[in-house]
């Protein structure tokens, strides 16, 4: 808005754009390389130029001649269920943190958020032992439950911001109008936090989909997810980099597509908890 920085002018704007392009290239290059790898036949795998004859051979191997699709399906089940569970548990929690006053409220809120700080490696050993002992190892239920450590804090923090933004007067008005608290929640509050629900839900899905350490160590043949399985293509006599790349690309697809679809909601949802106005 302030034009007094006019002496930056044209030079400034051009160099800004150039810098951004360079960085974008730097960030996206691995992705690009991965896609290219997935389309290269084994024989041309180690070429350094971009000239190659593309083939769908790797995708065919992954989909048709391996059990990759089973694990893709696993990932879908586990991620979606984890998000749904987080919604059911997290939305009321977010509301409580936004509206009610109780002892240690901020401590509890921070503790919930802190689950995201801890690296998964830190807790994986005890979890592994517990899971073995309780029979949760390699089950959908086990994974869905442990995924809450990833999805729940995120969802609560995003939705808390949305709930805080709604004036408590609106709830009071609806109550005075003759609605019970539950009806107010369903008819008035939920529609108002819908953008938050969408943003948080999709974001949590992306994080759940990407989970690596938990499924790696807490699941095996039955429940393991596609993020882990992509590595399997490495662990044989000849390393089929092309197939690894293909598996990884397929694995990345759902979240990339989702992220592109909801990108504007994402920005809003992410910054909501941070910026209080």
């Amino acid at each position: 808005m302030n034009e007094s920085v006019s002496f930056f002018g044209l030079v400034g704007r051009v160099s800004k754009t150039v810098l951004l392009l360079v960085y974008a290239l730097f960030a996206l290059f691995p992705l690009l390389w991965m896609i290219i790898m997935s389309l290269k036949p084994d024989s041309q795998m180690f070429t350094t130029t971009f000239i190659f004859s593309p083939t769908m051979e790797n995708y065919g191997a992954v989909f048709l001649r391996s059990d990759y699709s089973h694990f893709f399906f696993n990932n879908l089940i586990v991620s979606v269920s984890a998000v749904l569970l987080s919604l059911v548990v997290g939305v009321p929690a977010a509301y409580a943190l936004a509206r009610f006053q109780f002892k240690l409220k901020e401590d509890i809120a921070f503790t919930i958020l802190s689950f995201r700080f801890a690296p998964e490696i830190l807790v994986i050993l005890p979890l592994f032992l517990i899971y073995q002992k309780t029979g949760l190892y390699d089950t959908y239920f086990g994974l869905i439950w442990v995924y809450q450590l990833i999805t729940l804090p995120l969802l609560i923090w995003i939705l808390r911001g949305y709930f805080e933004d709604i004036s408590p007067d609106i709830e009071a008005a609806a109550q005075l109008d003759g609605y019970s608290w539950w009806q107010v929640f369903l008819k008035v509050l939920l529609p108002l936090v819908k953008p938050g629900l969408v943003a948080a839900g999709l974001l949590c899905f992306i994080f759940a989909w990407n989970a690596f350490t938990f499924p790696l160590l807490l699941s095996d043949a039955r429940a393991q997810t596609s993020t882990v399985v992509a590595l399997r293509f490495l662990a044989s006599d000849t390393v089929h980099y092309g197939q690894v790349a293909a598996a990884a690309t397929i694995s990345a697809l759902p979240e990339v597509i989702l992220a592109l679809l909801i990108q504007k909601h994402l920005v809003r949802g992410l910054s909501f908890g941070a910026v209080k106005g």
Partner: protein
């Protein structure tokens, strides 16, 4: 102390959008207190910021003294700005807040102390000098804010809505203090406000702005008694002026169709009306006299509402969509439902063109 001239000052934020400030021309004399008055979004704050140098000018000139200052850096323009939100430096004592500016200009320590003591006396903050902003009340912060703007002895003092965040009582007190301060110090001052009482009380002349355009620039009494157009007439004055549309009927009366309101035309009104068939009639509540008996040109009506407000009484008479308010002496006794006859002080009647809004 200096004169300030704005020549065709214009500010357009985004090409293609209407100007925030359009071709503003103002000549402010040395020592004059000017108010930029208007509703939010009218361009008053933008104008102030351009004078201060915090906004660039799209076109036009700002002249302080004899110098065109468009390209001059804010710190060299000789303006002192008191911000709306005080903007005091929290870790510094009041004394240091005041001195901050002077230090940056290389003024000697001795001179700084002298000036701090001086300004503390004018603004009555002597006992606050060693406190930090957190320990001050809003009113005190506001005075320190102003002292800081004044300590550099600016050519032009700029006040950005200084009273808007104070409670009613403090606002009235500070208003008196600012008025007194100006009477003693005579800084050339521009105040930005949306409160017309503030502008009326403080300014030597008021510049009324709307939608970026200057509506009128004159003394408070002139702007109040002879408003240039409908906007100015309706904006100044509490209770606000009654303004409503009337049409000329075949009987040479100005009427509100469908109601009992019928004001006979006299020479003055006829002359102002010209050939128009419709006009807007404006009359301040104090210009409406409410009587129990009819007289020559009185307008009949029935009292719809009575407000007893202590030292004044408001009587409202309804004509269709219009509720005509009159301020009457507290001794008058009217009740809703009373039949009354209204007469109007000829000098208090204003006509406005229905299209342009200009006063006729």
């Amino acid at each position: 102390m200096a004169e300030l001239t704005l020549r065709a000052l214009t500010k357009i934020y985004n090409a293609g959008t209407p100007a925030a400030v359009a071709e503003l021309n103002l000549e402010i004399r040395d020592g004059e207190f000017i108010a930029l008055l208007g509703p939010s979004g009218c361009g008053k704050s933008t104008t102030l910021r351009m004078v201060a140098g915090l906004e660039t000018v799209t076109s036009g000139e700002i002249v302080i003294g004899k110098k065109v200052v468009n390209q001059t850096h804010p710190k060299d323009r000789g303006v002192g700005l008191a911000f709306e939100n005080y903007a005091l430096y929290p870790p510094l004592r009041v004394r240091d807040n005041l001195a901050f500016n002077l230090k940056a200009h290389g003024v000697s320590g001795q001179e700084i102390d002298k000036r701090v003591a001086e300004i503390a006396q004018y603004v009555h903050i002597g006992d606050l000098l060693d406190l930090k902003p957190a320990a001050l009340s809003s009113g005190q912060k506001q005075r320190v804010n102003m002292a800081r703007a004044m300590i550099r002895r600016p050519a032009v003092l700029l006040l950005d809505e200084p009273l808007s965040h104070l409670d009613a009582r403090l606002r009235v007190q500070m208003r008196t203090e600012i008025k007194r301060l100006h009477a003693e110090q005579r800084f050339t001052t521009i105040i930005v406000t949306h409160d017309q009482l503030e502008a009326m009380a403080l300014a030597n002349r008021i510049a009324v702005l709307n939608d970026g355009k200057l509506q009128q620039f004159d003394t408070p009494l002139e702007v109040f008694n002879h408003p240039a157009n409908e906007f100015v007439a309706g904006f100044l004055g509490e209770p606000p002026m009654n303004i409503f549309e009337v049409t000329l009927n075949s009987d040479r009366h100005l009427i509100v169709p469908g109601t009992d309101f019928a004001l006979p035309l006299n020479d003055k009104l006829q002359r102002l009306l010209g050939s128009r068939a419709r006009t807007k009639l404006g009359v301040r509540p104090w210009g409406v006299k409410v009587n129990s008996t009819a007289s020559g040109s009185s307008v009949p009506g029935t009292v719809s509402v009575v407000e007893n407000l202590g030292d004044e009484t408001h009587v409202g008479v309804r004509y269709g969509e219009i509720l005509l308010m009159a301020s009457v002496p507290v001794t008058d006794r009217f009740k809703p439902g009373s039949k009354v006859q209204l007469t109007f002080n000829q000098d208090d009647l204003n006509l406005f063109d229905t299209e342009t809004g200009d006063r006729l």
